[in-house]
Symmetry: C2
Subunit: 140 residues, 2 copies
């Protein structure tokens, strides 16, 4: 076990109190809890469609991405589209779809890559995008 | 309330059973729960240092980023560095530090931008990076 201070510990958390309103667990249990640690490996992927304005293509990609949540080593998943936050120089809102997967370990991420559900997704959906960028992080 | 199917619902979840080993709440409560929904606004930031090999600079940036978890509207935070996943063409592992913040709403993200703790972080740390890329997503 890494020796972490309370301050450090707080910094890869989801504040579960905040989640309580939309959560699938008893809010009372979460209110007691206060926070939950996120799985440490974060796989962030951003997709640019071949046909950016094509809603059917976007929906097909989103539907494909959602199948990835069934993979055993995927411990958390969020599929998104650009949010309407303020436009700033450093913000790249040109992507069409984003995906975040969380894993407990690098091995979990590696085995996901070769999982049949992931391979099927790539086969069925890769014609939809013209560009994809992946960033893999480990929590510190 | 949006009308979501169980399938959709599952797709922006953290599987809390998986989190139980490192979680700050009673594992029994989580085992019952099964899953928790992540806050819908995901603010993903990737930093490239001016001095990429400089450990002190990296640590200073990480320490600065960790202060952001104290901001009220920040509902989840994970600070990371590149993970040792397989090198593939689409993987950009050239960044030095990554940050993911979760918010309940676009308004929460906007108010974070002007929060004194965030402004202090920018003032104290912006000399450390040469490039920063931000992607803001909303869960679908």
């Amino acid at each position: 076990m890494k020796n972490t201070t309370n301050h450090e510990r707080r910094n890869f958390l989801v504040k579960t109190g905040a989640v309580a309103s939309t959560v699938a667990v008893a809010p009372a249990a979460l209110a007691t809890a206060g926070s939950a640690v996120l799985p440490v490996i974060r796989h962030s992927v951003f997709f640019w469609l071949k046909n950016p304005g094509n809603q059917a293509d976007r929906d097909a990609l989103i539907a494909g991405l959602k199948t990835l949540g069934a993979i055993e080593t995927v411990k958390g998943i969020q599929i998104g589209v650009p949010a309407s936050t303020e436009k700033r120089d450093v913000v790249d809102n040109s992507f069409d779809v984003s995906e975040m997967l969380l894993f407990d370990s690098v091995e979990g991420q590696n085995s996901y890559q070769s999982h049949p559900v992931h391979l099927a997704f790539v086969k069925n959906c890769e014609h939809l995008w013209r560009k994809v960028v992946v960033y893999d992080s480990i929590a510190v």
